[in-house]
């Protein structure tokens, strides 16, 4: 029987083998898991070090010498807040229902609503973001509960070179004339396509 070439394997968290998911109890469907065999570990580690510029990455070494990495893109906003935001003590209004640290951040966005056949698009910019939602400007009124796909031009480039975007998908939970708050259920980094 031919020997299989050792290779790195990567999955969205929900599709990873159960034994690997069990290593990271706090994993969610928007995360990813990567398994690196021992023979390739030295080549992969520097890559994951660079990836930590974008979002948190944790790892576990298994008894066979392989390393399992767990990436958490949904924590990128909190991570960015830790790097750039000025610490401030906030007194929340009594009716404040939003959770998580909100980071004031103006990034160019484009958004899509509707089905593939009736897609509507618009452009705007983010106003603030948290680990659960994004407040952004819109070109038209987005109705509450509308599903929205939001592409955010991320201020950090991968290796200071590759432009990336944060893709978030969810529903509008609050709307104003030209502003909307999105509560997302999917979030991932992607290479930005011009």
């Amino acid at each position: 029987m031919a020997l299989q070439t050792p290779r790195i394997q990567s999955w969205p968290f929900r599709r990873a083998p159960r034994r690997l998911k069990a290593l990271f109890r706090e994993g969610k469907k928007t995360d990813w898991i990567t398994s690196v065999p021992e023979s390739l570990a030295v080549f992969a580690e520097s890559h994951f070090q660079r990836l930590r510029q974008l979002h948190p990455v944790a790892s576990v070494r298994l008894p066979d010498g392989s390393i399992v990495y767990w990436g958490v893109p949904r924590e990128a906003i909190a991570s960015l807040a830790g790097q750039h935001a000025q610490p401030a003590v906030l007194t929340l209004p009594k009716k404040e229902r939003r959770i998580g640290v909100r980071v004031p951040l103006a990034c160019a966005t484009r958004y899509e609503t509707g089905s593939a056949a009736h897609k509507r698009t618009g452009a705007g910019r983010t106003i603030d973001m948290s680990s659960s939602g994004i407040f952004f400007t819109t070109q038209s009124v987005l109705r509450r509960s509308t599903r929205v796909a939001l592409h955010i031009a991320w201020p950090v480039r991968l290796d200071d070179d590759v432009p990336v975007e944060l893709f978030a998908e969810g529903k509008v939970v609050r709307t104003e004339r030209s502003r909307a708050a999105l509560q997302y259920d999917q979030i991932a980094f992607r290479v930005a396509v011009p």
């Binding site: 070439t5 050792p6 290779r7 790195i8 394997q9 990567s10 999955w11 969205p12 599709r15 990813w32 990567t34 390739l40 030295v42 080549f43 992969a44 520097s46 890559h47 994951f48 990836l51 990455v57 990495y69 990436g71 796909a149 991968l158 290796d159 590759v162 990336v164 893709f167 991932a188 980094f189 992607r190 290479v191 396509v193 011009p194």
Partner: protein, 73 residues
Amino acid sequence: MRIGEKVRMTGGPFLGMPGTIVSLDRRRVILAVILESREVQIEVERDWIGVIARRRRSTPGIETSTLTRRAAG
């Protein structure tokens, strides 16, 4: 998308990295990529891959690459 085709990872932990398709099925793709000056194989979701399409501009001898991303899965 076919074996031997040059692609770029558009999502997942290796986003931005170019590679060549070694093997693929309906859901997964194995790519040969260069990691720290060494060729290694990486198996990822097909949804995380974009084909590097080549197009020729009107200026002779100048070829540019663009990235065509698959629909998000």
